[in-house]
Symmetry: C2
Subunit: 298 residues, 2 copies
């Protein structure tokens, strides 16, 4: 089996050109020309074997794509333009060079779909399981970043697509809503935004807490994905899967006034002055929308 | 045991203010005001249990400090000013909140020593071992970044301190040479630079390959650390430990002409037109300096 430095030589040959990159991967750090007019957005998301993927089931190309797409989805949540990424890979001892290349190609292809170049990385081999950590840099590029904290009472809540049951497969194959989120934010009506990684019940809670508002969600307006109906969790309805499953990677946003019809968005509820997130049932009553989504325990 | 979101609340309370930070950690991405006059340098380094530290021996505060200091050392290698970092932590199931806080405090303290704020992160718990991955952003801040590729034949090679035997302890406690490297680069004489993470035999090889030069190192000029003499590897002299051990985190640089005496630097050799790295022994003969340092096998 070839060593790390052969892999690094291969990696360097894979690099795609980017107008931003002054010194590419291969030195101690990459050097970028950051556009003077752009804010810099930065964040990190990892994928861990047995948590975010199952290396016995998913291909390395899918796993690589997922770590990139999770980060691209964070760009969508802030309405920024993906610019560059760096990645670290902790590879189980005995990982083949071919497998490592497939991981990288999965990341690269997912990134290239959004002009996001991989400009650096760190590869190590260990007695542990497969872990990938990717850091993404985004540019504001003409759209003011949308945070979680700008919602006010009486505003409309939208989501960009059907929810629930993503564990049946979509959590590995989703396309991050980068382009749609930037179009949505460019309307100037959006006051808060988040990507739905942990379920609407938890993620809408983040917006409410950061913005100091509450929310009411109309049960019959939630777009329930067909996959939610195929889930077999005891005692859960398809609606509950749609509300709590997570890993949908759709975007939820709060807008002032009605969004134009050509903008992607399914109206699902309203922000309120009263704190807390409530579900309005067809019968008319409001019930607290409890957080049942997946919480990473420490 | 408290969940991830309690830890995140604690993390957010720890954040130190930074003039760069417009939206701090807590949203999908942090938002930074990048100085228009600065190049952006970015890279990632991870630390893995059993490879870069031993969780049975080292404290979480030491482990956290190491992942930050490895990245700060990359800033030293490029002569940039550390600006901000994001970090991902893969925590073994059952990790206590206290332990997680200690990891973070180790990173935070090491970063604050160089005004490097942690502006984002991702924490997950899994059935695997402890892995930390940190991405650092650096600013050129008035000093042109120094790469590995600018050396020419006939230039002087310096290192910033004694080498060898760091595994006896210094690999966890080193202070990255950020300030010294910027002073060195500010002289305008430095043509290539790298931090010594993998041993002079391997790391000088990187500079030679990237610059298209060779090098000769004078055996009697190598500053051998006392720890190198305390190493007991069969058949290795202290000099060999100094040349091959790695994890010294001193800086090696190539300069045009002699460096001023007030600049940190121990003269150890010269670049040559002839390719390859050679060791000149006191007896006068040159022998190829083979790479014996630690290579991460895949």
């Amino acid at each position: 089996m070839a060593g790390e430095f052969d892999f690094i030589a291969w990696l360097r040959a894979q690099q795609t050109a980017s107008a931003l990159v002054r010194v590419p991967a291969g030195d101690d750090l990459a050097v970028l020309n950051w556009p003077a007019e752009d804010l810099l957005l930065v964040g990190v998301d990892q994928v861990l074997d047995g948590v975010h993927f199952d290396s016995a089931v998913h291909s390395p190309r899918q796993i690589g794509a997922k770590v990139m797409n999770r980060n691209l989805s964070d760009c969508a949540a802030m309405a920024c333009l993906p610019a560059a990424a760096v990645v670290s890979a902790a590879l189980p001892k005995g990982t083949s060079l071919e497998y490592a290349k497939e991981l990288y190609l999965g990341m690269k292809e997912a990134g290239e779909a959004f002009d996001c170049a991989i400009v650096g990385g760190d590869t190590g081999s260990w007695a542990g399981r497969l872990a990938l950590s990717l850091t993404i840099l985004g540019r504001s590029a003409g759209v003011t970043p949308v945070t979680r904290s700008g919602a006010q009472p009486g505003q409309r809540i939208y989501v960009t697509g059907p929810l629930g049951g993503s564990v049946l497969g979509r959590h590995m194959t989703f396309v991050p809503r980068v382009a749609e989120a930037r179009q949505i934010a460019a309307t100037g009506r959006v006051r808060a935004m988040i990507d739905l990684s942990d379920g609407i019940s938890r993620d809408l809670g983040h917006i409410c807490r950061e913005s100091g508002v509450g929310a009411v969600i109309y049960a019959e307006r939630i777009p329930v994905h067909l996959d939610a109906g195929r889930m077999g969790r005891a005692g859960w309805s398809p609606l509950e899967h749609a509300l709590h499953d997570g890993e949908d990677y759709e975007v939820l946003y709060v807008a002032e006034g009605e969004m134009p019809p050509e903008t992607l968005g399914i109206f699902v509820g309203m922000t309120t002055a009263e704190p807390g997130v409530r579900l309005r049932t067809p019968g008319g009553g409001d019930v607290p929308l409890e957080v049942k989504g997946w919480e990473h325990g420490l």
